[in-house]
């Protein structure tokens, strides 16, 4: 079968990083992965999304933190809507936690159901890999076929488009981010970034967070601004307008050096750069929570405000049963959100594997090019 594959090749990573081209990935013919156990099935991807963390990998910018949690060579792609041999459409919950790895006893997080916090991502009978799409035994979404554990599969509601279904995984991440701010934090939320995660976070706040009355979004590009507003942002600011927007919404003052006296009660950083994190801490009110929804990597931030204002910096990774929503699973909430806001429309471009370079370029400049989610369309791919 044809697949996009990432090899353990320093030369490729360096080339990708230096040339700013997606050079760490190549299109190749590989044998389809074989199921590693009885509970595993072969599935055929229909659409497979390109995520920010994928882009970091193929452009050679991923943090070395992930090194022990991947096994080379691997096929990326973890936002997957696929078809089983029986013709049933499923979305994949890609985290490869204790149960899937056959680890017994379970780690305490998995025992608690919070599989995204699993401690055994490199243990068990399966090769290392934090998710499907990082493990050389499972394969990944950017190919014609892969294997998945039955527990990973969520059936797609009937009548849904493939586009809506492929959004379930990324939107679940946003739902998890929105739910990870403590309940009753306060009425004003700021969402920095208006890519898939940012936009879905806005929608998730609007649907699931009744304690938040005002959502201020930061978007750079016109299409992002339009969508942010549609999905329920009360005010959409340019990056350099954020502080003033938060000031207006919170009635605080701006001090001479541009600092706010107060700020937003919860801030979602859906970008994960030094700038976005600095801005997040700058507009957070004393005691506020800053949720990192975007994958940050190595950043440089002045954390004085974090210390002096007793901010809480909270990561929000993947999904699981949501404590703030009666333990409903993020995927469940995500499906509700997608149906409610028609989030399938966020899929703005589909590419065949042959045009993977164009696809990845497009995805890495999605905002500027008026796009949100770019996906690989594998429906025409030959199955072998």
């Amino acid at each position: 079968m044809r697949a996009l594959q990432v090899d353990r090749s320093l030369a490729r990573f360096v080339t990708a990083r230096v040339s700013s081209r997606p050079a760490a990935v190549r299109l190749t013919e590989t044998p389809s992965p074989t199921p590693p156990g009885p509970d595993w099935v072969t599935i055929r991807p229909l659409l497979s999304g390109i995520c920010g963390s994928d882009l970091a990998t193929v452009y050679g910018r991923a943090s070395r933190w992930f090194e022990p949690y991947v096994s080379f060579p691997f096929v990326p792609g973890h936002e997957i809507v696929a078809e089983t041999a029986g013709g049933e459409r499923v979305v994949v919950e890609p985290v490869l936690h204790c149960r899937i790895r056959g680890v017994d006893p379970l780690c305490s997080a998995c025992a608690d159901g919070r599989t995204n916090r699993c401690e055994n991502l490199a243990a068990g009978h399966l090769a290392a890999g934090l998710q499907t799409g990082y493990c050389n035994q499972t394969g990944g979404g950017w190919s014609a076929s892969l294997v998945a554990h039955r527990q990973q599969l969520h059936p797609v509601p009937s009548g849904w488009s493939d586009e809506a279904a492929v959004m379930v995984e990324p939107v679940a991440c946003s739902v998890h981010a929105a739910m990870s701010a403590p309940p009753g934090a306060g009425p004003v939320a700021a969402v920095i970034g208006a890519g898939t995660i940012g936009l879905a976070t806005i929608a998730a706040i609007r649907t699931f967070r009744e304690d938040v009355t005002t959502v201020i979004a930061v978007a750079k590009h016109p299409e992002q601004r339009r969508l942010a507003r549609q999905l329920g942002a009360d005010f959409v600011a340019n990056p350099d307008e954020l502080r003033r927007a938060v000031r207006r919404a919170t009635g605080s003052w701006i001090l001479d050096n541009g600092q706010l006296t107060g700020g937003a009660d919860v801030v979602f950083d859906c970008v994960g750069t030094s700038e976005s994190l600095s801005e997040s801490t700058a507009v957070a009110a004393p005691g506020a929570t800053v949720v990192l929804a975007g994958m940050p990597g190595q950043v440089g931030v002045d954390l004085t405000a974090l210390w002096q204002r007793e901010l809480r910096l909270a990561g929000a990774y993947a999904y699981g049963p949501e404590r703030n929503a009666g333990d409903r699973h993020s995927f469940d909430l995500s499906m509700q959100l997608i149906a409610e806001h028609d989030l399938g429309r966020l899929v703005s471009a589909r590419y065949p594997l042959d045009r993977h370079s164009d696809a990845l370029e497009h995805a890495s400049h999605a905002g500027a090019r008026g796009a949100t989610k770019v996906v690989f369309d594998l429906r025409q791919e030959k199955r072998r």
Binding site: F235, A237, N238, R244, A245, R248, S252, W253, I254
Partner: protein, 529 residues
């Protein structure tokens, strides 16, 4: 000899016409056969000895007022209020009219043995003036006499202790003004009447009023019924101020009004071409036009701004009247009209307004996009008597670079207005309903207005209301040479040249439209028959 205003019918041999463009100017060709250029009258003769004229005016006041000397007595409380930085434009060379008048008043007060004197800058919701601006306006001697002892005050429309509610007019308008002024035995108001809007009861009823009082006439409804606000006879803004002024008089607030007028000599002699008719430009004028446009093209916007802001006009005093407010203002308005009225026959489909570098709210500051709107559609559009120079449904073409730039100290609420309010709507009624209250009561704006040099939080709204009549009247507004994003945010259409703008205008008013070019500054009033 001063020539009156002039309306030039453009023909094939007409030279290109000077058109202001912010910190600069261009020569623009206008279509022959259907365009006209409206030129202001030339500067009137000034008073030969202004100080003597002031003394004379104080000694023989108009109306039922007694001479100033007889109104002053030892042990009294005297408050001298004066116009703020928004007048005149450009700022005049020293000595300013205000300094001359205030010194003359104080001379008499000194002779009368008055000790309790306070000076108040009647800035309403404008920004507080800086020390150097005050020194320029009222002179070093007056500044040094009163500032160090805390008797030079700037009106604070948000100081609950410093305001007093006088009463309510028959139309239910609150009259609330500066307490020190209201509780004085006499208010002497020292005014500079640059345009017909200024002066009269507006001086005290607006200049020394609180937000609570101002909102009764600074609103969309009033501004839409002021046609125009430059014509007090037909201005709801002025009717309201007059009701308030009469209530003040009836409540025992004694005002001795001193109004001065200036000629329209707005630019120094090196740039005389700016106020000459193009076909009369001498070799020297042409050389200075070429040299100045070349030099300006080399400057950064910031440098150009500081160069233009340093211009001090050779304005000279043409009259001074003192006494009872309405009697004084009638004479003053007559003088303003003598200097500014230009008779114009009929309306045209299109009007072209070249916007200069300055408007009342950006002295020593930046002309931000909201002020561009206010200058074009508020001030220049309204400089008419009778009917607007452009017909209903017509097109106004403004020429200004319209930078996306704001003075962070002077205009903090303008930035928010532009970013938040205008990105939602440009409809004055919606803006007034949905946003005014929040901006007017924002504590941060209030703090900056009271302690720094910021315009009041609600001030950008007033700028927008100022253009409400024009927005309702016009079919389209086109801005030539502006920052496109900023122009669109204002709800206007950007164009790169006057020719393009005229093409775009023909979509609205049809082919071959008639055009008026308003050759301002210097300021004039088109008397449209």
């Amino acid at each position: 000899m001063t020539r009156p205003g002039f309306v030039l019918e453009v023909d094939r041999s007409t030279p290109p016409i000077l058109t202001w463009h912010g910190e600069g100017f261009r020569l623009e060709n206008l279509p022959a056969g259907r365009s006209r250029v409206i030129y202001p009258p030339e500067p009137l003769e000034s008073l030969r000895d202004p100080d003597a004229a002031i003394r004379e005016a104080l000694a023989s006041p108009l109306g039922d007022s007694k001479p100033l000397r007889e109104l002053l007595f030892p042990g009294m409380r005297l408050t001298i209020a004066f116009d703020d930085i928004s007048l005149p434009l450009p700022p005049m060379r020293r000595p300013d009219n205000r300094q001359r008048v205030i010194e003359a008043v104080l001379d008499i007060a000194a002779a009368a043995g008055v000790d309790d004197v306070a000076l108040i800058c009647a800035l309403a919701l404008h920004r507080r003036m800086t020390e150097s601006e005050l020194r320029h306006a009222i002179g070093d001697r007056v500044y040094d006499s009163f500032a160090p002892i805390g008797r030079l005050l700037q009106h604070d429309a948000e100081d609950p202790e410093g305001l007093i509610h006088i009463g309510v007019t028959e139309r239910g308008e609150d009259v609330e003004i500066n307490r020190r002024a209201a509780e004085s035995d006499l208010i002497v108001y020292v005014n500079i009447n640059l345009v017909a809007m200024d002066g009269g009861h507006k001086s005290v009823a607006t200049g020394l009023a609180s937000y609570r009082s101002l909102r009764h006439h600074h609103n969309v409804k009033t501004m839409r019924h002021s046609k125009s606000f430059m014509d007090p006879e037909h201005s709801a803004l002025h009717s309201s101020n007059w009701r308030m002024g009469r209530l003040l008089a009836a409540s025992g607030v004694k005002i001795f009004q001193i109004e001065t007028t200036l000629n329209n000599d707005a630019f120094p002699s090196q740039t005389a071409f700016l106020q000459k008719r193009e076909w009369e430009w001498s070799a020297r004028d042409r050389a200075s036009y070429v040299a100045s446009t070349r030099a300006l093209s080399l400057l950064t916007p910031r440098a150009a701004r500081s160069l233009f802001q340093s211009i001090k006009a050779p304005h000279a005093m043409t009259s001074v009247y003192a006494g009872e407010v309405e009697a004084v203002h009638a004479e003053t308005t007559r003088m303003v009209h003598r200097q500014q009225l230009v008779e114009v026959q009929g309306q045209t489909d299109v009007a072209i307004f070249g916007l200069p570098h300055i408007c009342p709210y950006n002295v020593n500051s930046i002309m931000n996009p909201i002020l561009v709107m206010c200058m074009g559609l508020g001030y220049l559009f309204n400089l008419y008597r009778g009917r607007p120079i452009v017909r209903e449904g017509g097109v106004a073409i403004l020429s200004h670079p319209t930078p996306w730039a704001f003075h962070p100290v002077h205009h903090p609420s303008y930035i928010d207005f532009f970013e938040e309010v205008l990105s939602e709507t440009t409809d004055p009624v919606v803006i007034e309903k949905n946003y005014e209250q929040r901006f007017a009561t924002d504590e941060w704006y209030r703090h900056l207005y009271r302690t720094s040099h910021a315009y009041h939080g609600v001030h950008p709204f007033y700028m927008w209301y100022w253009g409400a009549h024009a927005l309702e009247h016009l079919g389209r507004v086109i801005v030539v040479g502006g920052n496109r994003k900023a122009v669109r945010r204002l709800g206007f259409s950007p164009a790169s040249t006057i020719a393009d703008a005229l093409e775009m205008a023909s979509d609205v008013v049809g082919d071959e439209p008639t055009i008026s070019h308003f050759h301002c500054p210097p300021i004039m009033i088109a008397d449209v028959k």
